[in-house]
Symmetry: C2
């Protein structure tokens, strides 16, 4: 643990949290004692104010710092105090409360130790079919989560494979309870993903949510689970999605399904988080009527108001699936009488596999343009954590975990402020270098977008892995993800005269996107099918813009690589970041050349600037 | 074993070969006693004539049948006698000897029980890291191999994964010997695939073939191996191919590498089979100079005459990799001073996964047009065997195992005669139905070709699985398999003015293929790059021909399906064949629609007959 990369953005906390810290207050005392010594700062007095719950208040009294806070808030306050000191920022003023009460991390960890879409090594807590962890690393994780402000950890993959079901069965509960114990002093509650069909492994011939035997099984199961883990946050469910079981099998609605589970866990204070990621994953590519982004709205909007009070419908930020650029999911705007959670993905499935640099706060910040933060009451992020020494694969990917927590506390926070804070906490760089690092992070998403999917040319990825280009890799497949490029045009018309997707939005948003003249360029081909010779607002043709963006995206990546080499990062971070940047450049060039070749072969139109397009 | 599908084309041999049959003569006695009773035929007298070796001679003496034969030949003769009786054909005349002395089956079985490119279930003899088999099934396999006339079984995958190396180490030899024992009475000798780098697991820092320590290690290993299995046929090696180790690492030629191993095993009478499947599997798609089909010739032709006498260079039938249509490999025509083996693939990797019907004898028979059978001295086939009840997945795929053996005995044998014999041995169908089945099999390859890869439009397969269409799935990949289609034209110019591939052929063959007017249509786009409006000999344009072939291929598949339903096959063969045919039809329609859509999107040219092309 002496290697600084093991401590993420907390290098001043260079000793383990002792295992006998039993509460957040205990941890706060330890952390402040250790951290303030390292930071040469006054150790604040801690003042419990249970009424503040997760909130805290930092102030001076008689010239001495005081951190007041609720049971968990006192720990958040302790970290906030040290952050401000380390980052040379003013102490936060007034009482601070998190904007979202549930700030969840969804871990797609399988009990065999693998992680679906994991790019940071194997699971930190599963191996060989069940829990198996290094207590020091989990306490370090707890510290990271608490300092970022994340308070719920869903421990297992939403795709609940057979072996994972035992997590909530009698044989698995003691292990779950032990894992909950280790994270509790960090204010982190566990959640578990459950399979809708789980009763069927127990002599019940159905999983019909209206069947009393099913209801009874879940109620009894919930009793046992909460006996073992009294503060369990709840269940997470992926139902009727990508071959997971669900209520559709029994002709029941998703409200029927979710409410049945919600009622089983309500007596224990649990929440039932139900993912809205439902679509036809066996679409026939010949079918041009079905339009996958429309599926969630079609399924859920009619159910608005029908969900129980402890149900949270968790909706991905965009209507597809974590592409680099999507409009906001219309489902998030269509359900005022439903508790909604916004789901984002820290794991860089489509955004560079934690090889390519991709800082996400700018992306989340954009959401507010169409989605006022008040429209959802919780947030969830698919985890980018793993067993790698630095937890997140790319050393800079830790900024996304940290930044997610800050976003969950304050969705209006300025991305640059968050990334600067992360950079300053993590590295002690001279000012110009810090500026360069923050600029690199701030630009990283736009650069990645430019060389992979400008104009929302999404889904041109290698099937399966989702890293690297394959313009028609998903074009004739079952997943509903088509670009329908031909020799003349590309894109899908999703206006009222096309698939009608745009009609799912409130009027003002619909109008903006439906007109190619007001639709942002970056979403142009998501909403419109356009000819290659279509003239864009800046006077360039569509095809020229596709070429330009790919060429410019690679040039920008090369500039990022150049900037990176000038940063005096500590080792091994520096070598690791440089090594990954080399891979990123290769990826960027591959994207440029493949996508440009693809459109050149189709369109026959040469680059106006005569740059090399391979054929 | 009472289920007829378990007995392949030998339903009259409805009892197990006893485990105490210790020689081919023993098995012959048992088989004739059992089979002639079932067939109501006279039991011939067996007359050993050791000089005949694998040959046999069936004749009458005093009105009674006699089967004379060498040690193995006597068993081959016994099966030949019963085949003729069952098939109602005249007894074979004169002394029969196999055309090829080595008639090898290459099994890509891994010791963990999986099979690379296996479509008939798991391995018949490996599981859990080593040998593990059902003796009854292996003796049934021995009977099948002997009756087909196959005499060498290479037990393990040419990609020798770490765990498979122990097969030839001391700990593995007793098991190898036991497996050899069970197949020896059927005239089947074992072969093993070895890793060129194997000495490096034993304290030797190199696998350089010129290093004395390496040579010594292999010589000692060979001593131990042949002590355990005195009649082992030899080693099979895939070197410097698709990431397998090889002599290139040490700057040595493949003659250096092969001869080193050959010398180690020569004292024991072993042959060293060296695969010529060497190419750059990390090609940059931007590179239009490198042309993968040229690789084997470039590597091996200069080495002609340099291989030791017990080296056999095993060359795939075509220069690519078992596509449905390839010209003959020029390497097979370029090495008169080298022992060559022809390698074909029974496993239907690119030819339908034993879901789609694909009888191969017609394909092999065509080879003789450019490759006189005398140009090679041995044959090898990648196995299509597996643990499925019927051994080959599709019940008709057994025809390829049977047919391969017959081809190996007589490469000029008429495909229709072989397929009719197989059909008659396997099923007792009324004549019209038998004709229909034979027609179905005879047409099956052309039909598959027509809906997947007419005009040699190969490699348009889904990456990885190699089943189903993906026109550009391999287009921007590392494997050297490109069609380079654009809005105007498709194909690679492999003439002297193109990549120069055609120059690897003898003059007469080169001339035939270089001129689009004499190049067979079925190889047109392998050798030529042509515009979609190119007018073919039959007056149709290239694009129209692409459309027509795909439409007609599906229609022909539908006719096959129709014909299949009228066959009174025994169960479960009938249901299984019908079930797979449904999948084949779906596959065929997918190929038609995807490939036609692909070319329509590119060319913009409509089908002249106005049939439905999806976009």
């Amino acid at each position: 643990m002496n290697n600084p990369i093991h401590r993420a953005w907390l290098p001043h906390l260079d000793d383990d949290v002792p295992s006998d810290c039993a509460s957040c207050a205990d941890v706060a005392v330890f952390e402040l004692t250790l951290g303030c010594k390292r930071l040469n700062a006054s150790v604040p007095q801690l003042r419990p104010e249970p009424g503040l719950e997760e909130g805290y208040h930092i102030y001076e009294e008689g010239g001495k710092p005081v951190v007041a806070g609720g049971d968990t808030g006192i720990l958040y306050g302790a970290y906030a105090y040290m952050e401000a000191v380390k980052a040379r920022e003013p102490l936060p003023e007034g009482v601070r409360q998190p904007f979202y009460r549930l700030r969840m991390l969804n871990c797609w960890d399988n009990v065999d130790g693998s992680i679906e879409r994991g790019y940071s090594g194997r699971s930190l807590w599963f191996e060989g079919g069940g829990f198996h962890w290094n207590p020091r690393r989990i306490r370090q994780l707890g510290r990271m989560l608490a300092s970022a402000g994340v308070n719920v950890l869903c421990v297992n993959n939403v795709n609940v494979h057979a072996e994972a079901r035992k997590l909530i069965e009698d044989e698995g509960l003691p292990e779950l309870a032990r894992f909950a114990d280790v994270l509790r002093p960090f204010g982190v509650r566990l959640m578990v993903s459950v399979s809708f069909a789980q009763p069927m492994g127990h002599g019940i011939p159905t999983a019909d949510p209206l069947d009393p035997a099913v209801q009874r099984w879940w109620a009894e199961r919930a009793d046992a689970i909460w006996r073992a883990v009294p503060d369990l946050a709840g269940f997470l469910v992926k139902a009727d999605s990508e071959h997971q079981p669900g209520p559709f099998t029994y002709g029941r609605s998703h409200a029927d399904g979710a409410n049945m589970l919600a009622r089983a866990i309500a007596p224990h204070g649990g929440v039932l988080v139900w993912r809205a990621f439902v679509y036809n994953c066996l679409q026939d590519w010949r079918d041009t009527v079905t339009d996958r982004p429309m599926a969630a709205y079609q399924t859920y909007a009619p159910l608005d108001g029908q969900f129980d009070d402890n149900v949270i419908l968790q909706v991905k930020n965009g209507p597809f699936d974590f592409q680099v650029r999507e409009p906001v999911s219309p489902t998030l705007l269509a359900m005022p009488h439903t508790h909604l959670a916004l789901e984002v993905q820290l794991a860089q499935e489509y955004t560079g596999h934690q090889v390519d640099v991709y800082a996400m706060n700018p992306m989340w910040h954009e959401l507010a343009e169409d989605l006022p933060p008040e429209r959802v009451m919780a947030v969830a992020a698919v985890s980018n954590l793993g067993r790698d020494d630095n937890y997140t694969g790319h050393p800079f990917a830790a900024a996304n975990l940290y930044g997610y927590g800050k976003y969950a506390w304050d969705p209006r926070v300025e991305p640059e402020a968050v990334l600067r804070r992360w950079a300053r906490l993590t590295y002690a760089l001279p000012e110009a270098q810090e500026d360069a690092l923050v600029r690199l992070l701030m630009d990283s998403r736009d650069v990645y977008e430019q060389y992979t999917a400008p104009l929302s040319l999404c889904w041109m990825v290698n099937p399966g892995t989702h890293y690297g280009p394959s313009p028609w890799g998903y074009e004739f497949a079952l997943w509903g993800t088509y670009n329908r490029a031909d020799r003349d045009a590309v894109g899908i018309d999703r206006t009222a005269s096309g698939t009608g997707y745009a009609l799912q939005y409130p009027e003002a948003i619909r109008v903006k996107y439906e007109d190619p003249d007001t639709c942002p360029d970056k979403l142009l081909l998501f909403f419109h099918r356009l000819r290659y010779d279509y003239v864009m607002r800046d006077g360039r043709t569509l095809i020229q813009r596709i070429y330009d963006d790919h060429f410019e995206g690679v040039r920008a990546a090369e500039a990022m690589a150049e900037a990176l080499t000038r940063l005096d990062l500590p080792e091994p971070n520096r070598s690791e970041a440089v090594r990954r940047m080399d891979m990123q450049l290769q990826n960027a060039r591959e994207w440029r050349d493949v996508v440009n070749a693809f459109f050149h072969r189709l369109s026959g139109i040469d680059d106006a600037e005569g740059r090399k397009i391979y054929d």
